[in-house]
Assembly symmetry: C2
Homo-oligomer: 212 residues x 2
């Protein structure tokens, strides 16, 4: 009387794992349903009793991942070993735990659908937090909060992608997360090694400040 027949669970999870593996090997577009069922050791007809097509399996996978992430981002949640409750930490922890799937998503496989979902979810959450904080503490934002949310999330995901999928985790997770925190607190100018007094640009036209 468990939620599902054991055979269904086995089949579905075998298909999910096979898809992730194959996508990481060949890229989403190059993967066929035939390859997936062969890798999962499942009959082709069986595939179609569970999913309508490749996209459907992919969406299912991503939805599960996002639901799992959302649960970890819940403020009250402190389950899991070493879970800190801080969003960026939670994201990086989750990514490390589900490395294969994250690699797939962050690479943009599936025409970027999954990556967009992830970005939207995080940016939406960030925007809500910013707005609440501004309201609660009566702050006067100096930058459009929508831009702020996107920038902050873009920063996280870009670093996460580099760290997890490209460079192969060359630094401890805590260090990378700490750098993101420092960056958020002090800005890039400070991080590069300049003094705390950031040079206010001759606001308006053409200072030829490099990279800005």
């Amino acid at each position: 009387m468990a939620t599902e027949d054991r055979r269904s669970r086995r089949t579905r999870s075998a298909l999910r794992r096979a898809l992730v593996d194959l996508v990481l090997e060949r890229g989403y577009a190059a993967v066929t349903v035939e390859q997936v069922v062969e890798r999962a050791d499942v009959g082709r007809a069986t595939f179609y009793t569970h999913f309508s097509d490749k996209q459907s399996l992919y969406d299912d996978l991503v939805a599960a991942l996002l639901a799992d992430l959302a649960a970890r981002l819940e403020p009250g949640d402190t389950a899991g070993p070493g879970f800190t409750g801080r969003p960026v930490h939670a994201l990086f922890e989750h990514a490390e735990a589900e490395e294969a799937t994250y690699r797939m998503v962050l690479r943009g496989d599936g025409d970027g659908r999954a990556l967009r979902s992830l970005t939207d979810a995080l940016a939406g959450a960030a925007l809500r937090v910013f707005e609440d904080r501004v309201a609660d503490q009566g702050l006067a934002p100096r930058v459009d909060l929508r831009v702020l949310a996107r920038a902050w999330v873009g920063e996280q995901l870009a670093v996460l992608t580099w760290w997890l999928a490209e460079a192969g985790r060359p630094l401890p997770r805590a260090d990378v997360v700490g750098m993101l925190a420092d960056l958020a607190r002090h800005g890039r100018w400070w991080a590069t090694g300049f003094g705390d007094d950031a040079p206010d640009a001759p606001a308006g036209t053409d200072s030829s400040a490099p990279l800005v």
Copy 2:
């Protein structure tokens, strides 16, 4: 005696435009070569004399875009109306000029290949600039420069994506670029409205600082 036969040029550019249009309408995966040649009003056999497949046409398109962007990022270049020579400005200007193609790339169509190329190119350039600056001015970076470069580029592209492809350019370009500059100079803390004195986290364990 121009570099190419006029017919070739016409055909190629028709195919390029057709691909971009169709991808924006239906997504890269859903576009077929047959649809492209029909939209471009070109024989199917003709397509294959120019490109080996859909991917090839796509790659050609992206390569041209990146080459164009690289030219605009050259320090010495001051061509074009209102071109400022500042990299972020140049990127946003280019994106506005080539809006359709940028939408396609930023959305991650084509399994993210193009977006990754763009990211890598910008991150590589940023890293080089950072390293040069640190060396020239004898700075002591407070954050790993590789992380810094990825974060900075991720920030730009995330904001660009939101501004160009999702929100439909709700703010003037100069404003958005200015916000990115402010953010780089002062950090998110300052941007949210807090004072200049960023609260240094009890560096190490678990301050429950939200969103960090």
